[in-house]
């Protein structure tokens, strides 16, 4: 279990516990334990406390909660896009968690999936959906079982069904297990997959909030986003806004990987210093190695150099200002002895495998980027190659249906640009002294 052992702004670690409240509690996945910690109180407040769907949307808007899947779109605003007209609407939870380095959603399911179910019910009430799905990644065997168990318990306890808590609110929830494609974590790709089609993103317009799953208005939310909703309802938006910065409210789960002393999943308020996170909370790099670079938000986030890490805070604005992104909050630490050429090749391999193959620049471009970076790794590189990679990546950006192409182009542009000297050295020695960790 990760340990929160660092004070922040004078507060104690347990004050940050919004999503990880049940951390360390025995039998945390059960409904009883959840209810003992205030579970389903938010749902009762919404349904029985006379809150209208608009009240819920306004409250979530006021809390400043932003989508935790990667894009960081304000959740309340997204819910507000759904047409008010009657008719079937859908709320889908994106539990596809495919971003390399990310394992926050599984952690929520591991602690207690009822958080998600309660958040989903509130969201469904807000947008007027009577049916919702949890789209799970196929490899998440345990998480599938935990979610199934939680849904079963919720049905038995009357939190799901045709007449929830006797208020007449009707909602049914189901699980859909995908086959493990990264692209199915993209909103419209997920909807395609859920519809039984090949998991490929759909053209926009129309947007899913207007025409999504089966042609009906659909909202797709990340697990972490929805799991935070009950706490916000219970404690009010002001309490949530106390955490984080002005534009990045609340806490976020951060997953750190790479050679740090204490890797794991940490709940931190947004705006937390990155350097402090790595060196204090996570205990620094193993063996006192020097930090070379950090990928701050999963594989698709452009890389930060050690110098850029110095004064970086972990929130949407600061990362955006540095030309990267918060993404899913997966912090990947790269030490001094790993060659960035290998890092690039490794990432390109991932993106080449995961491109859905629909749009030409991405389908052909990701394969090409891999071939070019592999040529350099194999010792066939020559000056100009890194620039060519960056150029090709640049031509892929913003030219496709979804942002996968931009995600692949992010590291393919930032690594050759920020570590040009390493590439030059690599061409000369043909084989860098460092090896990638794979």
């Amino acid at each position: 279990m990760p340990v929160m052992n660092s004070p922040y702004n004078g507060r104690q670690p347990n004050e940050f516990k919004i999503l990880t409240e049940l951390e360390g509690v025995p039998n945390s996945r059960s409904l009883e334990v959840y209810k003992k910690h205030g579970g389903y109180a938010a749902l009762e407040k919404v349904l029985k406390g006379g809150m209208s769907p608009d009240d819920v949307i306004n409250l979530v808007k006021a809390s400043g909660l932003r989508g935790r899947g990667g894009a960081g779109f304000p959740t309340g605003m997204k819910w507000g896009f759904v047409p008010k007209a009657a008719g079937e609407k859908y709320l889908i939870t994106n539990f596809d968690e495919g971003e390399p380095g990310t394992y926050k959603d599984r952690y929520i399911a591991e602690l207690n999936a009822h958080m998600l179910i309660e958040g989903k019910l509130i969201g469904a009430y807000a947008i007027g959906a009577s049916k919702s799905y949890i789209y799970l990644r196929g490899e998440f065997y345990d998480e599938i079982a935990w979610c199934e168990q939680a849904i079963k318990e919720a049905y038995e306890a009357g939190y799901l069904g045709d007449n929830i808590l006797g208020t007449g609110f009707k909602h049914h929830m189901d699980i859909y297990v995908g086959a493990g494609a990264y692209i199915c974590g993209e909103e419209t790709g997920l909807i395609s997959s859920l519809e039984g089609k090949k998991g490929q993103p759909k053209l926009k317009p129309p947007f899913p909030a207007v025409k999504g799953y089966l042609g009906k208005p659909t909202i797709v939310n990340n697990v972490e986003t929805l799991a935070a909703v009950p706490w916000i309802i219970r404690n009010g938006p002001e309490a949530y806004k106390k955490f984080g910065t002005e534009k990045s409210a609340g806490t976020k789960l951060f997953n750190i990987s790479g050679p740090v002393v204490r890797p794991g999943c940490y709940e931190l308020p947004l705006g937390y210093p990155l350097k402090r996170f790595i060196y204090e909370d996570c205990g620094g790099l193993i063996g006192g190695k020097k930090l070379k670079a950090v990928i701050p938000g999963g594989a698709s986030a452009p890389v930060l150099t050690a110098a850029e890490v110095e004064n970086m805070t972990m929130d949407y604005e600061a990362f955006a200002a540095a030309g990267t992104m918060l993404g899913s909050g997966a912090v990947i630490v790269i030490p001094e002895d790993v060659s960035m050429v290998h890092v690039l090749e490794n990432l390109m391999h991932f993106f080449k495998d995961e491109s859905c193959g629909q749009c030409t620049p991405c389908r052909e471009g990701t394969g090409w980027l891999l071939k070019m970076s592999r040529d350099i790794v194999n010792g066939d590189g020559a000056p100009g190659d890194a620039e060519k990679i960056a150029e090709v990546a640049g031509k892929m950006m913003g030219r496709t249906i979804c942002t996968f192409s931009d995600a692949a182009a992010g590291p393919a542009r930032s690594i050759p640009q920020k570590f040009a000297h390493e590439f030059l050295e690599f061409y000369k020695t043909k084989q860098s002294t460092a090896r990638a960790h794979g």
């Binding site: 692209i183 995961e354 491109s355 030409t360 389908r363 990701t366 394969g367 090709v392 030219r399």
Partner: protein, 493 residues
């Protein structure tokens, strides 16, 4: 007007109905926006990412095919930024393309080649090995599939899903391994398969009946109307004019008649046009004679008879002008009209319709023929299973205008056998046919590609045919023969 929006493309203003896309507006204006996956007859896929345009006020380039045109929108398709996007989009299409143009039937009418010349990058930066994929796959009776040449525009997949609703094709695997193919145990088996070869912008789908036959740059196209059924699809007919050899037909867009497509049956309508299938000279009592001698024999035969001793048998495969000329000429020669019969195939189910284009009435001009008959006050007698009305008419001379497209008359030999039994038969036909050769006189006629005339389709749409140079210059059309016949009769008087 409230349901029209006005936008400007390259500073030219254009109004289109609300809900149109930039692509449609550009087409209306005549501005070419390069595209592969967009096809006006199919849904929008937006996957080739080639039709990038700059829309003022939008930070990123937009695809023209899926961006709705809005009032006052300013679109640019020629700026350096847009041109660069086109260059690179084409580069991405080409990096894994095998470039086997020398053996590809599409070469010469390939969109990749055309766009390469127009907007290409010319200097490719791709130095790595290309992705290899299966080639020359047999995917049905009519098509060959080369998955390496495919640019995955998904036009064919959408055609199968939306037009024929057969859903035989899919794109398998993902990333640069994505491959077009048929589903397991499935073959492309429907009457519209050649459309796949047409809509394929590259040489992934090529037609088996055109495979390796001729390079397209030797072909000249002429606009005409398909004689295969009463729908009357608008087509382009392709001929190698040096060899006078016809090679294929392709559909031509006509929203009122056939949309963008045509059927595979219609595609075979070039076969009977070529010299190897045709008769070139008249035969009188089994021996070849000159055209003039044949007409003289016919004129003599007609001259010695009363109108009621002559029967005329028409099929609905000639033009309005030909029916008119034949009837008018006979009337002039004999004072009144002889008995008129209409011959239709025994197996014909005239009201059948496949729901897309193909109709059970395999005659292109049934409606026009009936119109001409009405004009001349003729009430024809139908010959279908029962030929007794003709046999018992006691005619001394029977003029039979046989079907130009013999494949539309599956029971042709049976019917011809019945004609042979009659006294003196003059058969107007164009196809080599042993039974027709047994008639007293057989006169070759022009085919639809060589005639100027009118076909009226099942809906009553009258469509003009325009003549190509004839394969056999001595062969004439029915109208020309009857004009000459009239002159002969006149000079005899």
């Amino acid at each position: 007007m409230s349901n029209e929006v006005t936008l400007s493309i390259n500073n030219q203003s254009v109004s289109v109905p609300a809900g149109s896309t930039i692509m449609e507006a550009a087409q209306k204006l005549g501005v070419t926006v390069p595209h592969f996956c967009w096809h006006p007859g199919l849904s929008i896929a937006g996957v080739c990412r080639f039709c990038m345009v700059k829309v003022e006020g939008m930070p990123k380039l937009q695809i023209a095919c899926n961006t709705p045109a809005t009032e006052g929108m300013k679109v640019d398709t020629v700026s350096a930024e847009v041109k660069d996007a086109h260059k690179w989009a084409l580069e991405f299409h080409l990096i894994n393309h095998p470039l086997d143009c020398p053996i590809c039937d599409q070469a010469g009418e390939c969109e990749l080649q055309n766009y390469y010349m127009k907007v290409g990058k010319y200097q490719s930066q791709m130095e790595d090995e290309k992705v290899l994929k299966p080639k020359a796959l047999d995917v049905g009776d009519t098509l060959v599939l080369d998955t390496e040449r495919c640019i995955l525009c998904s036009r064919c997949v959408r055609f199968e899903d939306e037009v024929t609703k057969t859903s035989t094709l899919g794109i398998f695997s993902r990333g640069d391994q994505a491959t077009i193919g048929t589903y397991k145990d499935r073959k492309i088996k429907h009457n519209y398969s050649y459309n796949l070869a047409d809509i394929c912008p590259v040489g992934a789908f090529t037609a088996k009946d055109f495979r390796f036959k001729c390079r397209v740059w030797f072909l000249k196209e002429s606009k005409t109307v398909c004689p295969g059924c009463s729908t009357g699809c608008n087509v382009n007919l392709f001929q190698n004019s040096n060899q006078r050899e016809y090679y294929r037909l392709k559909p031509r867009h006509n929203a009122d008649v056939n949309g963008y497509w045509m059927c595979d049956t219609g595609r075979t309508m070039y076969e009977h046009l070529n010299a190897s299938h045709r008769i070139s000279a008249p035969r009188l009592e089994g021996s070849q004679v000159a055209s003039q001698a044949a007409l003289q024999a016919l004129a003599d035969a007609v001259a010695g008879l009363q109108p009621e001793q002559i029967s005329v048998v028409f099929t609905a495969q000639f033009t309005n002008e030909e029916y008119s000329a034949a009837l008018a000429s006979l009337k002039k020669m004999k004072g009144s009209l002889p008995k008129v019969f209409v011959w239709r195939d025994e197996a014909e189910k005239a009201d059948d319709f496949d729901g897309i284009l193909f109709r059970g009435d395999r005659n292109p001009n049934t409606r026009g023929m009936m119109d001409v008959f009405k004009e001349h006050g003729v009430t024809p007698v139908l010959l279908k299973e029962d030929f007794s009305s003709l046999a018992s008419s006691g005619s001394e001379l029977t003029l039979v205008f046989g079907p130009e497209v013999e494949s539309a008359y599956p029971n042709l030999p049976k019917a011809l056998g019945r004609f042979v039994e009659l006294k003196k038969v003059v058969y107007f036909g164009n196809t080599l046919n042993e039974l027709a050769g047994k008639m007293w006189l057989r006169i070759p006629v022009k085919v639809f590609a060589e005639k100027n005339g009118t076909f009226v389709n099942f809906k009553g749409v009258a469509q003009k045919l325009k003549a190509n140079a004839p394969v056999f210059p001595a062969v004439k059309g029915v109208d020309e023969y009857f004009v000459e016949l009239g002159q002969l009769a006149q000079s005899a008087v």
